[in-house]
Symmetry: C5
Subunit: 354 residues, 5 copies
């Protein structure tokens, strides 16, 4: 299916409130990890049954519900009613191909981002929707697949890092987004290293494999660009939002995020240009090599063609060819041939043809 | 006629109120489908004669008039007077090549969009104007041709889906626009799948048919872009409009539409870039193949040219060529030829020419 | 002279109030057509002497002065004083190469647009300045050359079309601009048809004449773009203007104009892209053909080169070449040659070289 | 030195108040021309010694100090103190490579523009800074080199043209800027004529000299664009400025300037595109010619190769070649050769190869 | 590692307050230079131990702390507490790959810029973060490496230049930024000189080394652009900032900086275009040379091919070839060959093939 926009026939005209997964069906069990913390205490569980969530919801501490897997419609309905989320929100969560989006609802902030993964061997970036819902004291995050991308944040919570444990839910949200954005930078950095290392082969050794690589990096860069750019809008919206769920102290961190996004996008633009240039250079190198090949062929042919012609003349069987009968004419012919060859070669040397 | 802008000589200087079809004449009968619903009841008719519309217009329930065919000037006049529409509106409806447009009149909102259809076999996108007129409790939609594109919406109305039956006319309008926009995404997704599948042939097998396909996709993507981009303005205008015909609750849905349009346009841009790259890659691959061909010819010619020359020398008929008379000179010549060939081939091997 | 900007040495430093034609001098008589109308009456004259204008100016009905020819400095001065126009206005009228412009003076609105004419045979667009001056009850229009482009508007006035006869001067101005803008669309549509019809030759038959056509359309499209784009600003300015000369009811028509301009510009952009693509495709097709030519030459040469070499060997005159004396060696040689040819051809077949 | 940005090592870190010429040193005497006028009187002097300026400064009439030469640090200091200019202003005047700039100081408006000169023979545009300082009743203009570019303005003052003699200093400033901007248009028009005349050679006669010309025009157009674009900002700033030195009546003239700048920039953009297209067309024409050359070579070689091969076969010295001994075999061979040649040529004719 | 974005795996998810160097570790000692000045006095020290800073901080004069080296976490902590800086600030300082940034904190303005260094021999631009922290009477600057780039400013302070010694901390900050920005211009000017000097070789002598140079300049220009562009935002932000640390008199200097940045960016854009054009020209010149090579080969081959064929015919061993036995037929053959050659050569002369 198309990688840049995945919309199936049967999704056309679907109601915006329908709880229906708009992606590939999966059969893995949904995994719910809960971390509940305040400066003093920290509790971490993995919940098997979704029906005992309700209790956690009532604490005064910050509670982070991390849900891996969005394909189970029953669980979604349960989450929706437990947290009093509007049906449209969960319908959005279940559409993994949706564009990143932010909206302030009456009782929460909804925010989604693309989370990227880079397979270095195949040079393929895959994306996944990350949804973060910010409520009073509660943060709910949805991932499509199981993953440990938020492990550094969990680690920082566990190790009782001052800031994260004493802050409100908005700082936790910032930390999660920060991880996603740092990951963008890391991927760009990785792919960039590869792109820059193409340079050597480009001019010396322009083989089709180099062309294949340029082409493949170009596609990944376009995909990166398309996945990352909407995040800029998301962060800008967040910065302009005057929500009760965002404390004043968070804005400086959001500005930091914005700066990171800018840097990512600028780097992507730089690499895009570099790849375009590389393609041009490749093409021009090929033309240059073609010219060299032609020159070689030309020089070679052009030196031998008249010599062969002379030999041909004295291979004719006319009864009366006076030159044939002088004793040294064979050697004279060889000498003349040598002379012609030397003259031509020095002419080409002068013209810098080889 | 030109596909991207169709204006005939006789349309220059036409009065903006003239009821005259500015497109191809058609002779099909105009089809009028009426759906009248409120949470409790649902009535559906297909009207043959336009003069019994007037009654439907007076109900308190939501009434959706769907008119397939815009070429009958008499019917248009009748509709115009029944719904008290300004003459300019119907004049606009009858111009199927008009750019999408939105305007708030005194007694209605007028809105038009391009509805697209993709012929996968011919790889050809055709467009049709969809006009939606939103009045108090009444929605009138005009399509150029008969079509069942709104069937999913009708289905949702019939199956008594909660939201659509309890909402006002604005939600119905949103649902219709949503279908059109989902259809954009579906078409982009289809054409995108085809574009992405070109990749393999591009590098391995760059035949003219691949070039024809790239060219044809490029044109369709430009057409898509031109047809879809104005919709962005339409939705933005709708979002900024503070009309009595739009309830507060509709804005979140309109934002959803805007997000969809953004995603469509971004995907189109991505595919446009990919196609541009593909054209470059194709061209470069051709150059690369040409270089390979030349190398092959060069290697071959260059190895045989001196050998043929040597044979030519000993084919001359000079009386005195001493080499001719030694017993093994023929074999010595063959040996020397072999040696020259081996030397040249190993030289080319070193230069990586084959 | 340069087509895109025509400024002569002697025009540098000219006073902005100078009544001096900044274009080619012409000697045709200036033609003044006056139409004076209100809902009841309609008078039309062609005036030979400019000095009897003054009377017409005093009526309460709408009076449209249409002046064909801007080169007569004496007449210009007279018009200027009759209608109490500032000297700068007439100085602007007499500069046919000026950029389209709009300005609200104390006693009138000044507005100029490029009026285009397309010579289909030569594929050449020529432009002319149209100046419209809107005063209370009076509209003055200046054209460089005699033309009947406004005939449709005159026809609508004559045939007593309701709207135009009952409206004020602003509606007349709108009608004139509408004709100009419809004409843009018509020209784009004509040139577009031609561009689209290039496609077939492009891939099958890439001759230099196709290249010439692409080049020529490209230039005309750039010229179109440069001539039409300023109109967008003009209409936008007009929409923002809160002048006594513009009634409220005119704004919806101006929006229509703006929509038309947008459509024209978008179509131009589409054709510009299509032409760019066509140039690329042409170039790539040429490369592809070149590769085919080379393959053909290569296959042919490469098959015969070794055969000719073999023949050459047995053409040598060595005393002792044992093969020469076996009875069937000639036929064996022919057989070997055939074998070599078959092997090579099947090798090229496998490589898909022909 | 670099043409597009000239900054020397020793200029890095220079104080913004330093009176030091940041350009090439010159040793010409500085020329000061003073024109003092009001509607009644006009005085014109050329001043040798700068110390008698002070008197002129006190009149009520408009006084225009035109200074040709900015390299004399002593004179600069004197001017600075006579007119009470801030040190930063003169420091700016003495930096001829500075970007055009406008600033409203407490006692003057400072404004600088690039003044261009086009050497048609060398196709080279050189630029010079023009600084205009507007004070109450006094205008000071600085030029790098002696020049008569403002002669038309002086002429208009001398000939007692109504407007310029009755206006204030702002109108004089406008007239000077107008000359500079008209000169831009004149240069674009000149270079444009040359660009447009390239077309013919481009398709028929694509020699390297055409390529050199395209390249050279491209560079000049980039230089033009870089020099002219900042003027747009300058004029816009001037229009937004609410300074006591600018009378209300000047704004309509400034709008005229803005329109001129727009036209210049649009024309430059058009020519830039045309040049880009020309480069593409040139390249494509070359490819097309290459293909023609190859076809010719191919047709020729391919016709003779088999013929030569046949001759080679019957040149072999086998004892037993039956064909050699039939009486007419030589003529039969010639006939067969002719037949092969005709067949091949007609095949190539069919393939449209020549 | 990637040059345009350097982010390591282990930096993903790092807390924004962590004091951890995000770059290459270095082991050089950190160098702290303090300059303390007011109009009367000037003191300069180099501090070995960081703990005696505290005293300097209390003076009323302007104190500039310049710290070369950011890798020592202990020293950073000490600076942080001495100047009461928020932890986030120092965390930013220690991230040398961060994007330039500006932020107004409660007790200071934080501002970072890229400081560039150009290695002319290798044609490589390296960048370094410069951080400037503006407090009441105190300016702290951080550089990654030891450098003497601010020596001109120190020199101006020492030599008691009026302005810098009588101004507040903001003027010192401006002077430092000015040096950095002047340095941008100097580097662009240097690299520009090199780019412009490529022109000659481009058309006459298009060797691969030229291509390598174009490629290398392109990359440096992209790097320059990416490094310089954010500075524009920084200066704009500074101009909009209404901070107590910025006096009114500084704004005119900041505008100067902005003008400088604009000039730099415009020059970069010009060079970028010029390089793009150069690449195109190079490619086209190669194609043109290829065509010349082919023409030469073609002319040569095509002249000799029929001659060799004729010789081949009379080399056949048919018993009965009447021409062989006429006395002058050998000379007649030579004559005919000469004739053919002359005819062909004059044909090619006419076609302008050599």
């Amino acid at each position: 299916m198309a990688r840049f926009l995945k919309t199936k026939k049967e999704e056309v005209g679907l109601s915006p409130e329908a709880f229906k997964l708009r992606g590939e069906k999966k059969s893995d069990a949904v995994l719910l990890r809960i971390i509940d913390f305040d400066p003093q205490k920290l509790e971490e569980y993995i919940v098997e049954e979704i029906n005992n969530i309700e209790n956690c919801n009532k604490t005064n501490s910050v509670t982070w519900f991390n849900i891996d897997g969005i394909h189970d419609e029953k669980i979604m309905t349960e989450i929706s009613s437990t947290f009093e989320l509007e049906p449209m929100i969960l319908s959005d969560v279940m559409n993994p191909h949706a564009r990143p989006k932010i909206h302030e609802y009456d009782n929460c902030i909804y925010l989604s981002l693309k989370m990227l993964q880079y397979d270095e061997v195949m040079n393929y970036i895959s994306s996944e929707n990350l949804v973060i819902i910010i409520k009073e004291n509660v943060l709910i995050s949805f991932q499509e697949r199981k993953g440990d991308v938020f492990e550094p944040v969990r680690e920082r919570i566990r190790k009782n890092k001052k800031t994260i444990r004493t802050s409100r839910v908005d700082y936790l949200a910032f930390s999660l987004i920060d991880v996603v954005l740092d990951n963008y930078k890391y991927i760009i950095s990785e792919i960039g290293t590869k792109i820059e290392s193409l340079e050597v082969d480009l001019l010396q050794n322009p083989e089709v494999s180099v062309l294949e690589q340029i082409n493949s990096y170009k596609k990944e860069i376009i995909y990166l660009s398309k996945s990352i750019k909407p995040s800029k809008e998301i962060i800008s919206e967040l910065l302009k939002m005057e929500s009760e769920y965002l404390s004043d102290s968070i804005y400086i961190h959001l500005q930091e995020l914005q700066n990171n996004i800018h840097q990512s996008i600028e780097s992507i633009e730089s690499y895009r240009e570099i790849l375009s240039d590389q393609l041009h250079i490749y093409h021009t190198t090929i033309s240059s090599k073609l010219n060299d090949t032609m020159k070689f062929l030309t020089v070679f042919s052009v030196v031998f063609i008249p010599l062969t012609f002379i030999a041909g003349i004295y291979g004719t069987n006319f009864d009366f060819i006076p030159e044939l009968h002088y004793k040294y004419s064979y050697f004279i012919m060889l000498g003349i041939m040598l002379l012609i060859a030397i003259l031509m070669i020095s002419y080409f040397k002068k013209k810098k043809w080889f």
